[in-house]
Homo-oligomer: 358 residues x 2
């Protein structure tokens, strides 16, 4: 049994999650009807809290889905008639592209080399939707925020959707430069899986309504117009994960009390000491070389032949690293750096990696 | 605060649900990666338990979704190219039909009068899919199982899908007479909402594969071929509601120990005493008159001008009735009769209704 889970999602629970769950059972939340004022209050607490935490403007709606994977599908269904363009630098940005292909869109992509990302010089064709992955969970490559700003300037008519599944609440997005952001709660928010959060502006809604008026199917219960009109009443089209929404309200409230500035500063500190340790280490290295591409929230180490020994070494100290993704399972380790991971836990991780020697 | 929740979903938690949740946190289930053997074991426990409880044959797969509402959409996407026919006797069977229309299918329907159901004489046109609602949660009308048998005989080439959201685990379905059944866990299984369970046979899978081979989009991550191929490995395409799947395994295991025969017998006993009380009552009546149409699991009472007074009367005794659905909110009450509701709780409910007098 380990004490700290560094797997990049589902990951370590936020320190207050279990307390909120205990309180939820006491307050009968798991059997609460979603068609009650009490549910609407919970739902409003969650979205108001997120608005404050992430500084989300009023022209954005916040709606709930079953997963972030579902949001890939809803974005393609609701925001594109024919085309989308995807910046791909790993397995998850690739899957976002695959979703568009499966929904019979003429999707195009720009590939980055493994472990590399995109800069302001990236060329994107004219398209209905630009699909970006802020943090590629498989490779630990992050997208510099100025790339988003640049794309907004050069593609005023495209919608820009940003997958921030494994980075929020860390990134300080400028919501005037994008149209949609989304995440799932089992990563940076330290909650049980089973809830996706989709943040969308009025341009997205207008696009979905335009497709609908052309007779194009944009889904059924989770069309964007249906989600947004219910969200205006703090409601959902279907019976949602009520407990998940309640727990998210609790954790977001705790994060607001701790302050997003503190969370961001601590995230940067923890990332800095881990990258420093990897850069100095004689046996293992950071997979992502270019500092501008390095994710602050999912840090990937090339461990080669030492992967298993390092895992054992860390497990003996009560720390569970995440396996490398896909073909890198035996040669890399991934370390989540989420708000649930304390500075002390990160310092212990860094010391343990530093002292690791065969 | 009430002690017993008779709302038809989310409803009273099963008596062991909270214990399973406490155990889940102790075992770190809420932060368990779904790409582990431990998750696969949990997933297999859940599906093996359901197979035993409901006597599900080997040619059926059991897959997980975010909600039963999602399953309406997946059924239409994966099991129909053009047509579906719906037996409609309330708001939820109507929504199943609406889903098909929203997905641009040529859907047709047969309507029953309010409070009435369908018998063996119902005429259904030739169609790709017959969509049935075993238990209409809005009106408390149930579909006699021999109607399903008859439709199978007369429509050998159609797929038959049965919405059993608010009746399972009660009905003893003959799985040779249908192709798909589904439910959500917050009703008869007494669990927190946020998980749908879709039971589908190999004919459904073949149909989805046939549509795919024609170049028709059947969705992305939750296509039936994707769900079934992952389920064969006790896996899911996306990060699922791991905690929900774990809790379902626990409750299904408890139900198997109690035995499905006992659960069915108790359900029938509780339904019988409540209908008897309603039939004898001077002020309130059962909404569904025909005994063959009467649901055993959601019992609807016409309370007219007495609705508010009866609600107050029951609430004073610690019992929360469900509101009437939609336009019946002020004139009907609904009572869930799920395995979570004990005989003693039902006897108290029945006594309290019997003694109710203005």
């Amino acid at each position: 049994m380990f004490k700290t889970n560094f797997t990049p999602g589902p990951s370590q629970l936020y320190v207050t999650t279990e307390d909120h769950a205990r309180k939820a059972f006491k307050e009968l939340i798991p059997s609460l009807s979603h068609r009650t004022k009490q549910f609407e209050d919970i739902s409003r607490n969650t979205t108001d809290g997120l608005r404050a935490l992430l500084n989300i403007p009023a022209n954005f709606s916040i709606v709930f889905t079953g997963s972030a994977t579902e949001i890939w599908e809803r974005i393609i269904q609701n925001l594109t008639e024919e085309t989308s363009h995807h910046l791909v630098n790993g397995a998850f940005s690739q899957k976002f592209y695959d979703t568009a292909v499966q929904l019979n869109r003429k999707a195009t992509l720009t590939n980055a080399e493994p472990g590399k990302g995109f800069s302001e010089t990236v060329v994107v064709p004219q398209t209905e939707l630009i699909a970006l992955t802020h943090n590629e969970t498989s490779t630990g490559v992050s997208l510099p925020l100025n790339v988003i700003d640049k794309l907004r300037d050069s593609h005023a008519d495209s919608l820009i959707a940003v997958d921030a599944v494994s980075s929020l609440p860390y990134p300080n997005f400028d919501f005037t430069k994008l149209d949609s952001v989304f995440f799932s709660v089992q990563k940076g928010f330290g909650l049980p899986a089973g809830l996706g959060v989709w943040i969308v502006n009025d341009r997205c809604l207008a696009k979905a309504e335009q497709l609908l008026s052309k007779g194009i199917s944009i889904g059924s219960y989770h069309t964007l117009p249906s989600l947004v009109s219910m969200a205006k009443k703090n409601q959902t089209p279907e019976t949602p994960n009520v407990l998940g929404i309640y727990l998210l309200a609790g954790v977001v409230d705790d994060m607001n009390r701790r302050s997003i500035q503190t969370i961001r500063r601590e995230t940067e500190y923890k990332a800095a000491i881990l990258y420093q340790a990897l850069d100095k280490h004689p046996l293992i290295n950071a997979f992502v070389k270019n500092p501008a591409d390095r994710s602050k929230t999912v840090i990937v180490a090339d461990c080669g032949a030492h992967t298993e020994a390092l895992t054992d070494h860390l497990m003996k100290k009560g720390m569970l690293p995440g396996d490398g993704y896909g073909s890198q399972k035996k040669s890399q380790l991934r370390f989540a750096n989420f708000p649930a991971h304390s500075k002390e836990q990160y310092e212990l991780l860094v010391d343990s990696i530093t002292e690791f020697n065969i």
